[in-house]
Structure formats: structure tokens, C-alpha cells
Amino acid sequence: MNLNSAQLIAMMVPTLPLIGFAGYLLYGQYLKEKSAGLLASLWIILSFFLTLILFFQLNESSPAINVHLFDWINTDDLNIPFEFRIDQLSIIMMLLITGVGSLIHIYSTGYMHGDEGFSRFFAYLNLFIFFMLILVMANNFVLMFAGWEGVGLCSYLLIGFWYKDHENNKAANKAFIINRIGDLFLLFGLFLLYKQFGTFIFSDLEQNIAGSMSSPEILTFITLLLFIGATGKSAQIPLYTWLPDAMAGPTPVSALIHAATMVTAGIYLIVRSNFLFALAPLTNEIITFVGLTTSIFAGVIATKQNDIKKILAYSTISQLGLMFFALGLGAYGAAFFHLLTHAFFKALLFLGAGSVIHGLHGEQDIRNMGNLKKYMHYTHLLFLIGVLAIIALPPFSGFYSKDNILSLAYIQSPIWWIAALFAGLLTVFYMLRLYFVVFWGKERMSQDTINKIHESPWSMLLPLLILGILSVFGGWINAPELLLGNKWLEHFISPIVSIHPSHLPHSTEWILMAVSMGSILLVAFMTYQKYVSKAHVPLIESNAKDGSFVNLIRNKFYVDELYESVIGKSFLKLSQFFNSIFENQVVRRITDGTGQLSLYVSENIRKTQNGFISYYLFAMALGVLGILTIFIFFAL
């Protein structure tokens, strides 16, 4: 194994977080809180700088760096190497993971301060970064799948981090199990892929597919299976229900895993295998439809939630839906761009929410907040930046990426454009509702709580600040010509994703942009009216007078209950049937049947041993006769 310097660096990037994790197992118990947190963060920061070095070695035309470590699975027919492939797509993901990862590690040193599981928390975070890096660096589907399941595992561990409360454990189990359902579909998709094309390695697949004339039906089927896998990890309909519950984990986890990185793995999967999806138009239509539906559906639910983290969770589902919508339209670059900006501002929002929760000593219900701008200046300002970015006001980053998706949607069909704009307006409404209710209006906390409100320490504010800067300026990496940019990102990843030809006349683009800006401002104004001028506070559920539809939304359309009663119950019924009836009636009979058979036979044989000499003599004579007959028969 001779590696050149770039390969060595690439190998070190995921190794460092793994060392961090292993280190915890070895000496974690001897470390003080401060040094444990610092050390864990240091591994990731180091990893980030190594990634930066790699990044500067790549430009849009350089070949991928391959790092072959060893053969992971090796049978006669199949060889799956433990091999990394660092190309333009994976390097951006690596930067995102280690970059946002570093910030969230630093933030966590403040947020988790005083928790009894402090160093365990950092060990899990380190392990998560390791698996996430494996996911994006793998050069084949199986290794990617290993990272894919690995991040799910860490997500399980971190959602249930406060394991003493069974609510958290339930949420953790739910996340893992629903993800496993998706994973099984993904796995079957991979099996079919292997059956058709005989390899799991991305580059070989791309060649084999180009050279083969496989039927579109099969490709549709493969891509659909992969997509269902993606809906599990990226929380889309029908497998989204785990993500809101996953908010049971500590807030930095929600920011890192359930907003910025892991949940975008489904997007990454499709961007990575865009050479497959490009050949399956039916799948793309389904993806567009599912993405858009999810986006609107989750947006509607978010408008009636009162838990600050749940609102952000539904918002994440909604934004991910928008990315899938773009993927389905073939706008891989735009979807990937939105993935990045979303990672910045959603991490910012989650960490901001964490700062609020921290300052209020664990309060998460927005009805018990209010006028926080008076008490937490920096948090307020940075949270506001996040809100402005997500509702896509210029010049914040969300504006660039959403506008990109919208204008590409318009090229396909104005109806898509209207629907996507509607999803965006829902975002404007629920995010501003959240913002106004939390930071404006009157204080609704108890006096006791008000006295104890404090601004967060610098270790939490610094990451917020950096994310705030990224949320403001991050959009420039892919600004269109119209806004004096050069679409750097799409050009950079063009070796993996060919550039989407988009040519709207500039005048149309201006008009579209004006319409969407106008409607955003209109909705923003209405929200301001409702929640600030009229100081409306969301009602407590019990005295809700609204029509039944509102209650339906409030109860998240009863999807959880539906799954529980239809799928969960029927499996339980089947288990109980097998356990109490089938096992006893059928299986037991098969088992005992042989015993009874032998009893029956021996009973009958016993009857021949009846003690009469004459009977024995008769039998003996018969026997002799029989033997003689046989001898004679054979002799002849």
C-alpha cells in the first residue's frame, strides 16, 4: 500500500474522528470535561483542515483521487474494496461535514456543559463524523451503504442519548427501525443493480450502463428502490415520521445530524448516481411529485406546531422535499446547492434554538417564550439572519438557492413553479410565526425564569456567528449570471453532474423573481400583523375552537397513529397468532407426531411378542421359508 501525500491526507480525514472515538473508549473516563470536549473537537477541526488542503488540490477538471486501503469483501465473484474516491462532489460534502461538524463540536462544549454523559456525547459525535465521511468518500455502493447504516446507528445512539427517559429511547428506536425499512429497499435496489450490471463500483457502473442496453423498466425499478431508501434517510413521505420524534436528542445533534448532514444523504445518493436516474424518467416524475408533496405537507404541519424544535424539524422535511423536487426535475446542481445553503442556515437556526433553550433552561414550547430579543441580543440577531435566509430574502444564501430551483421549475412548467412557490410561502409563514412568537411580543415566562435568562457563552456564540456569516454570503458560491455570479459550484461539480442547460430570458427571470419577492413580503407582512400587531399567541390545544381541519394539522394528520394501528398492530396480531396458535397446533404436532408414530409402531410390534411358543415357531418357519425362497430366486 504505497500512498502519495494526497492519498495519505485523504485517508487521515476519516481516520482522525475514528481515533477520537477509540480514544474515548480507552481513556475517556480519565479525561476532565474540558479536555475531553477540546480533544474531540480538535480531531474534527484537524480533519477539516486536511480536507481544505485536499480541496485546494482539486479543480473542476482534475481527476478523482482514489485511495485503495484493502479488500473489504472478497469472494470469487465479487470484490468490494475498502476504497475512497475523492472527487469534486465528495470533497464539497467532506468540507461541509467536517466544517459544520467542527462548529457543532465547539458549540457542544458549551451546550453539553455539566451533562454527566459529556464525553460519551463527544465520542458518538466523532463516530458519526467518521461514518458520514465513509458515506460520502466511498467509491462503491456497498461501502457507502456501510456509512449509510453507520450514521443511522449514531443517530440512534444520539437520539436516545438521555437514555433514562423512555420517550427518548422510543424515538431512537423508531428512527432506527424506519431507517432500516428504507435501507432494505436500498439494499434490494443495489442487488438488482448488481444483477444487471455486475458491479457496485460507481465508475465501473457508469461505464457498464453506458455500454449496456438494459430495459428502461428495470432502471426505473432500480432507481425507485434507491429512492425509497433515500426517503427513509432523508425523511420524505412515506418514511418521514421518525424525524420530528428525533428531536428528542440534544439540540446540537438535531443541528448536525438531523438538519445539516445525515438527512441530506438521500440527496447525495441521488446526485452521486445521477447517471442512473437520468435514464429513468418515470422515477424522476415520482421524485418530483413526492418531493413537492412532502414539502407542502410538512410545511402545513409546521404552521401549527408549538415546540420550537419540532417546527424546525418539519421545516427540514419541507426543505428536503424541495431538494428532491429539484432532483426530480433533473436539476442536480440546484438541489446540491440548496443542500449546502440549507446546511448553513438550518444549522444556524437549530443552534440558535439551542441557545434559546439553553438560556431558558430547557424550555421548548414557544407559547412559554416571548420578547427574547430584549434578553438575548446576539442569539436574536443571528437567529434573525437564519430566518431571513430560509425565507429566501435577498441577499441571503437561501434566496440564491431557492430562486435557482424556482426558475428551473418554471422551465419545466409554470404549475411546478406555483406549487414550489407555495411551499416557499408556507416556510415564510411558519418561520416568521416562530420568530415573532419567540422574540417579540410580551414575556410569557414566569418571573422566576425571566430572572434566570442568560445569553449563551462564547463557545456557543462563535459557531453561530460563523454559520451566520455563511448564511449571509454562502449563496455567492453559485450565484447566477443574472446576479453577477458565475455559477462556480455547478461548474466545479460538472465532472459528476453535467451542467443543466437553463435558458430563461432575463426579463422572465426578473419578473419571476419580482413576483416571488412580492408574495414573500406580503406573507411576511401578514404574519407580522397577526403575531406582532395583534400579538396573537397560539392557543393551548384543549380550548382550540377552530374547525376540524386545524385540529387535523395539529395532530399531524394522524399519520403516526395510522402507521401504528395498521402496520404495527397487524404485525403484532400475526406474531401472537403464530406464538399461541400456530406453534401449539401445527408445529407441536409435527414434532410430537414422530414420537407418537414410534409409540404406535412399537405398540403394534409389541403385540407380536405374545409369549406363545407355537406362534414363534410359526414365525420362524415363515422366516426360513422366506430366506430359502430368496436364495433360490437369486441362484436361478
Binding site: 423512555h166 428506536n173 444483477k195 406464538n579
Partner: protein
């Protein structure tokens, strides 16, 4: 011996002596890579079992050890016998110590009917196998039971079918494969844990090994034509056993069904008859042996805490026993096949080859992947997580610690670097495939 094999992958012939000349049987022992793997597993599992015995502190320890060692000898004999008659003798003999171990040291008031059922049902299968072996042995010119000669026989398809049924019933009982598992859960639950470890860790593999070693090369036509039925039964058994595992409240009984679910996947992996499937089977055999050891060891550790296998009597152990909780978690992930644990690669390979063989079977087997996560995580939640309710326990002692850490080490090493098993088995697998199935 394994080290020797890596350097020079040939079949090692140990002993080859005439034994009962009038019947043409020979005392012929030899081993290839697969036999070596089996022998390794047997020895490791018996070691763990011995350790469990040590801490069980039963009456009549000496007899207990003697029977365990006797059983080990016979099981090893099964894995190296080249003569089918000799193989049968070992197979049958290994049952006898198992019977007495369960009967005399069993942990259930209903131990007599349970062991009787276990003994009679297994014996019934063995008798069918004996008939099949005698038929095979007398097919040649002279009565000869040597595998190399039997493999060379040309057997008509109807005869092959009959022999196939006889063998599969015998092995289906031992493994067990649905619906022949009626003896298993009761026996695993009632047997002393040290014996359960051997029953599930090694004796169940005897059946898989035997199908691999005898049925595949001797009856290729029957395997080709009727293997799919076995696969369907085995994979349905995966689904079935997983569902059963979900509703058990006794931890040991639950692990019995977990073991059955895994054995179903392994048995199914034999019949697609390709290199991926068979390598998957071998990897999974090794993984299952380690994981099942781990699981029953966990059950044993729990039993030591308060003398119960009932899930409801535990809770919140995580707080007092972090090491135990951590080791259990890794074993659990190995058992449900998370990547980078030993359970993943074998399962992946088997499912992959099953998928090309028969999609329905792959789906049934795949259901185990999801249901496995359901029942295992629920168990973990109920026993380990939550708040500490009534316990005042100390974490595992140093010897336990060493044992658990070794298991965890093996689980992860094999999950990352599996080639040590595939290299060991490759020659044997290729021989069987190329001489019978791939033209």
C-alpha cells in the same frame, strides 16, 4: 493448523484406516478449509461454554465437564469425518451427551418431556439419514462409504429425490428449519446456558455443514430441482421466527427464536449455489457462532443478577453497568447485521445471491433485517435503558470483561476484515461448485 492451511491450501488427510472391513467403512478423517473453520468455531464456542459452566456452580461439575468434552470430541469428529458411516456415528454420538446434559442439569420443571421430545425428534431425523447413508453406501460395487467414492456415483433422479428428502428432514430438524423447529425453543430455554451455547453455536451448524459437505456434491440434481422449496421454507422461517421473537418475554426463549431466524438465512444461502452465497454462508456461520455465544452470555449475565430470564424483571442497567451495556450493544448490532460488524457481510452476500435466485425468498429473509432491529432494540430498551428501578448491581467482573471484550473485538475485526474467512473457505467452495454445478 489454520496457519498451515493459509500457506498451503490443500486437504489435510489425518487418518485413513480400514475400520469395519465387512461393511467397507473406514476410519477416515481429513479436513479442508471449511472443516478447519468449523473446528475453530467448535473449540471457541466450547471454551465459552466451559467458562459459563465455571460460573454456574452446579452440582456434579466433574460429570458436566466430562460430558461437555465428550460432546466436543464427537462434534469435531462430525466435521472431519470423510467416511459417511463414520460421520453418522459421530453425529449420533454427539446427541447422547447433549441429551444427558439437558436432562440432568436442565432448568425447567418440565425438563423430562422437553428432553424426550428433543431426543426422539432428532433421533427420528437421524434414522432417516441412516437409511439414506446405507442406501448410498450399497450403491457402488462394494459397500463403500467413503465420500470420494459416493460423490462419484451416478444416481437416478427419483432416488436422488428420496435421499434428498431424507437428508433434509434430518438436517432441517437439527438446524432447525421451519416447520421442523418444534423441539428447539423449549430445549434452548430449558437447557443450562452453557449447553444452549453449544446447541445453538455449534450443533445447529452441523446441519448446515452436512448439507454443504454431503447433500450438495452427492445429490446435485435434486438440489437443483428441489432446493427452492427448502429455501422457501427456510426464509419463511426467518420471517416466522422473527415475529415470534417479538412477542417473547423470556430472554432466553427470545434468543432461541433469534437463532432460528439466523439459521434460516444461513440455510437458504446454500441453495443459490454460487460463490457469493456459499461464502456468505461460511461468514455467517462464523458470525452466528460468535454472536449467539454473545447473546446467551448476556442472558447468562442477566440471570446471575437476579435469577430470572424475564425481561420485565430488569431495567435501567445502563447506569450501573456501563461496560456490560456497551458490550451488549455491540453484540446486538452484530446480531442484526450492522455494517462493520461480523453479521453484515455474510447477510449481505446471502441476500444478494438469494435476490437473483428467488425474489420472494429474498424479501422473506430481508424481513428479518427489519424485524431484527425491532425486537433487539426493544429488548435493549426494556432491559438496559430507562431509569434504574430496583437494582443495585455491580458491573461485570474482570473475567467477564475479558470475555466480552474478546467477543466485541472479534465481531468488529471480522466485520472490517473478512478475508481471513473467505480465504480459508475458498478452495473448498470452488471445488464443490466446479465439480458439480458450474460447467
Amino acid at each position: 493448523m489454520i496457519a498451515m492451511y493459509y500457506q498451503n491450501p490443500i486437504t489435510i488427510t489425518g487418518i485413513d484406516l480400514p475400520w469395519i472391513p465387512s461393511m467397507g467403512t473406514r476410519f477416515h478423517l481429513s479436513s479442508d478449509g471449511v472443516s478447519l473453520l468449523m473446528a475453530l468455531i467448535t473449540n471457541v464456542v466450547v471454551m465459552v461454554s466451559m467458562y459459563v459452566t465455571l460460573s454456574e456452580n452446579k452440582a456434579g461439575q466433574r460429570q458436566f465437564y466430562a460430558l461437555l468434552l465428550l460432546m466436543q470430541t464427537f462434534i469435531l469428529g462430525v466435521f472431519v469425518a470423510e467416511d459417511m458411516f463414520l460421520y453418522y456415528i459421530f453425529w449420533e454420538l454427539s446427541l447422547i451427551p447433549a441429551y444427558f446434559l439437558v436432562l440432568l442439569w436442565g432448568e425447567s420443571p418440565k425438563i423430562k418431556p422437553i428432553t424426550l421430545r428433543f431426543f426422539l425428534f432428532t433421533l427420528f431425523g437421524s434414522l432417516l439419514m441412516l437409511i439414506a447413508i446405507i442406501t448410498l453406501g450399497n450403491m457402488g460395487e462394494v459397500g463403500n462409504y467413503d465420500l470420494s467414492i459416493i460423490e462419484g456415483l451416478e444416481i437416478g433422479i427419483p432416488t436422488q429425490l428420496l435421499l434428498f428428502v431424507a437428508f433434509m428432514v434430518a438436517f432441517g430438524i437439527k438446524s432447525p428449519i421451519f416447520p421442523l423447529h418444534g423441539w428447539q425453543a423449549d430445549t434452548y430455554e430449558a437447557a443450562p446456558t452453557s449447553v444452549t451455547i453449544i446447541l445453538s453455536g455449534v450443533m445447529s451448524k452441523m446441519a448446515i455443514y452436512s448439507i454443504y459437505k454431503f447433500v450438495l456434491p452427492i445429490l446435485p440434481d435434486a438440489v437443483n430441482q428441489y432446493g427452492s422449496y427448502v429455501v422457501l421454507a427456510a426464509t419463511f422461517g426467518v420471517f416466522y421466527a422473527s415475529l415470534l421473537a417479538m412477542v417473547q418475554t423470556n430472554i432466553k426463549r427470545m434468543f432461541a427464536y433469534v437463532s432460528m431466524a439466523h439459521m434460516g438465512i444461513i440455510a437458504a444461502g446454500l441453495f443459490p449455489l454460487n460463490s457469493n452465497g456459499l461464502h456468505g454462508v461460511m461468514l455467517q456461520i462464523a458470525a452466528h457462532a460468535v454472536n449467539t455465544c454473545g447473546l446467551f452470555l448476556v442472558a447468562h449475565s442477566l440471570y446471575k443478577l437476579n435469577g430470572s430470564y424475564d425481561m420485565a424483571s430488569f431495567g435501567g442497567l445502563r447506569q450501573k453497568m456501563p461496560l456490560f451495556a456497551g458490550a451488549f450493544l455491540v453484540i446486538l448490532f452484530g446480531a442484526i447485521g450492522v455494517p462493520f460488524t461480523n453479521g453484515f457481510i455474510g447477510e449481505f452476500l446471502i441476500l444478494n445471491s438469494l435476490y437473483s435466485y428467488d425474489v420472494l425468498s429474498a424479501i422473506l429473509a430481508g424481513s428479518g433485517v427489519i424485524l431484527g432491529a425491532v425486537y433487539m432494540l426493544n429488548l435493549y430498551k426494556r432491559v438496559i435503558l430507562g431509569t434504574d428501578n430496583k437494582t443495585n448491581y455491580l458491573d461485570i467482573n474482570d473475567v467477564d470483561k475479558f470475555l466480552y471484550l474478546s467477543l466485541v473485538f472479534v465481531i468488529i475485526i471480522t466485520g472490517v476484515y473478512s478475508s481471513w474467512i473467505t480465504k480459508l473457505c475458498d478452495a473448498s467452495i470452488q471445488t464443490i461448485l466446479h465439480s458439480n454445478y458450474i460447467q
